[in-house]
């Protein structure tokens, strides 16, 4: 019975990691830059929701606030690309990495100033409490998180397969030059990918905050999500999600069955193993170009 509990809570954590990892990979595929602020984006998304929804702030009903959260996070993502990232266009990767780490610091600081540094809990309709089935204690929030992530994955899949802009995003990430030749406004499309990453981060943030409290340092789980993305195969969207789930599952099981302390290093041990034995990741999409 305990195993099922571990499984559900591990999967729920993994879903949050997976969604953050998805944000990493979306931006990496589109722009070949790694956004190390993705975890902080997640935290910001949670706090924006909290600021709109919680009664001590604006007290807007959750479902009314949700579109505004997506709008705010999408616009922030787009503007970040437009104003900050395009300014370092052509600079080395290191510049982009340091810049996004700095943006993460700024987000953390600004959120602390606006909403305080104390942990707070979001008035989320997903925070449903626990239910007892015999000896089994199920966190309903965990189940809800898993379901929402599934829906989000299906929605994203449909978006990339069926919409013109989704197809253009894929095209621009696979062959940027050819995308230009097709008349795709590549820079604008990349901005939209940043917007999409912002929205995905908002979903991840809401899910994270539904499982417990949130404070401005919550963005640090972005590091774990980054490991998840590498484990799954940086550059593969399904890989990012799977990597997240794997990391999410490893933690509770290592905590239960291994000596204390190992659960914290388990994801990174796996990361090293993957890098040694399958450097492209477990679910990589690698194909050499035919000449």
């Amino acid at each position: 019975m305990g195993v099922l509990q571990l499984l559900i809570s591990g999967l729920a954590n993994g879903c949050v990691y997976g969604l953050i990892a998805l944000g990493f990979v979306l931006i990496y595929k589109a722009t070949e830059a790694v956004n190390f602020a993705q975890g902080d984006f997640m935290m910001l998304g949670a706090f924006v929701t909290l600021g709109l929804v919680n009664p001590e702030y604006m007290g807007i009903p959750f479902w009314v606030a949700l579109p505004f959260v997506f709008l705010i996070m999408g616009v922030l993502g787009y503007l970040l690309d437009l104003i900050v990232l395009r300014a370092v266009f052509g600079q080395s990767q290191v510049a982009v990495i340091i810049l996004t780490i700095a943006i993460g610091f700024i987000i953390r600081f600004v959120v602390g100033v606006i909403w305080g540094h104390e942990p707070q809990s979001l008035q989320s309709p997903l925070a449903l409490g626990d239910v007892r089935l015999g000896s089994l204690v199920l966190g309903l929030a965990d189940v809800a998180v898993i379901i929402v992530t599934l829906l989000m994955t299906v929605a994203l899949w449909q978006f990339f397969q069926r919409t013109k802009i989704g197809l253009a995003m894929q095209a621009a990430s696979q062959n940027q030059m050819a995308a230009y030749y097709m008349g795709i406004p590549v820079k604008r499309v990349q901005g939209m990918v940043w917007a999409l990453a912002g929205i995905v981060a908002a979903v991840a943030g809401i899910l994270y905050a539904s499982k417990g409290s949130i404070d401005p340092t919550a963005g640090f789980i972005g590091i774990k999500a980054f490991a998840a993305a590498v484990i799954g195969g940086f550059g593969s969207l399904p890989g990012a999600l799977m990597g997240g789930l794997i990391v999410g599952l490893i933690e509770p099981f290592a905590a239960r069955y291994l000596p204390p302390g190992y659960s914290q290093i388990a994801p990174y041990a796996l990361l090293i193993a993957v890098l040694l034995f399958r450097p492209h990741g477990l679910f990589a999409q690698v194909r050499a170009k035919k000449v």
């Binding site: 013109k164 197809l167 253009a168 894929q170 095209a171 696979q174 062959n175 030059m177 050819a178 995308a179 230009y180 030749y181 097709m182 008349g183 795709i184 406004p185 590549v186 999409q285 194909r287 170009k289 035919k290 000449v291």
Partner: protein, 258 residues
């Protein structure tokens, strides 16, 4: 030829960093014609096409398309004006299917019925693409990828098609096949083309007019027939040895434009 040219280039100069790749090129392409630009590696042919399609910006000179200046415009605006660039080395979207690649060719269009009609047209010219429509483009052979790149370009229903080395890396038979299709496209669909090629024989056979580029300059121009008949082209681009009775040696010949 009294009507205004569809594409007119005047004194174009383009730099690759400090290197002047295009040194004052002027040329004209008239509607419904096929113009070829011949030249060896590094003559500036690809740079010329990239400058037209907006991937590179010229330092000087102007490019008039339908009488409108388009030099220095962003690439997607050039595409919207009706110029499609079929790049060197195919450049398909490897993880997307053939059908998805084709639909991206029509990215700037919104008329669904017309797009479907044009896809059928592409499939009628390249039946192999219809057969493989659900296959990932990266798994096609080189020749099929070239066909896909040309078909994708047609999906825009362009006013002019810029083709960069369509014969690159293809067997002679495939090259013949692709140039035969290009000829039919020009004759039956009236597609205006500007073809950049190293393979002068097939290019002059397809083209109505031709230019010869060397080191960033146009050194010779005329109708394709005239170029094909010229001694310089014969010996330097078509590879005829052209030996006289006394065995005139090729390495003694100097190009007349030097």
């Amino acid at each position: 030829m009294t009507e205004k040219p569809l594409l007119q280039i005047n004194n174009l100069e383009t730099f690759y960093g400090p290197i002047m790749a295009i040194r004052g090129v002027s040329l004209e392409v008239h509607k419904g014609r096929v113009v070829t630009v011949l030249g060896a590696n590094g003559a500036g042919k690809t740079t010329l096409l990239k400058t037209i399609s907006g991937i590179m910006d010229p330092e000087k000179g102007e490019i008039l398309f339908d009488g409108q200046p388009i030099q220095g415009l962003e690439p997607h605006k050039v595409v919207r004006a009706g110029i499609v660039h079929v790049p060197e080395g195919r450049e398909v979207f490897p993880l997307l299917t053939v059908a998805e690649n084709l639909s991206l060719g029509a990215y700037t269009r919104t008329d669904a019925a017309e797009i479907a009609r044009d896809r059928d047209l592409v499939f009628s010219y390249f039946p192999i693409l219809a057969e493989r429509r659900a296959q990932e483009a990266g798994t096609l052979s080189g020749g099929q990828q070239q066909m896909l790149a040309i078909g994708r370009g047609l999906m825009l229903r362009p006013k002019i098609m810029l083709l960069d080395e369509p014969s690159l890396g293809l067997s002679p038979i495939l090259t013949q096949e692709i140039f035969a299709i290009l000829k039919r496209l020009n004759r039956d669909e009236g597609v205006t083309m500007m073809v950049v090629e190293q393979n002068a024989a097939v290019a002059l056979d397809l083209a109505d007019d031709g230019y010869v580029m060397e080191l960033g300059r146009i050194v010779m121009s005329g109708t394709a027939d005239k170029l094909a008949a010229s001694d310089d082209i014969k010996s330097f681009y078509l590879g005829h040895s052209n030996e006289g009775a006394r065995g005139e040696r090729r390495w003694k010949r100097k190009k007349t434009w030097r």
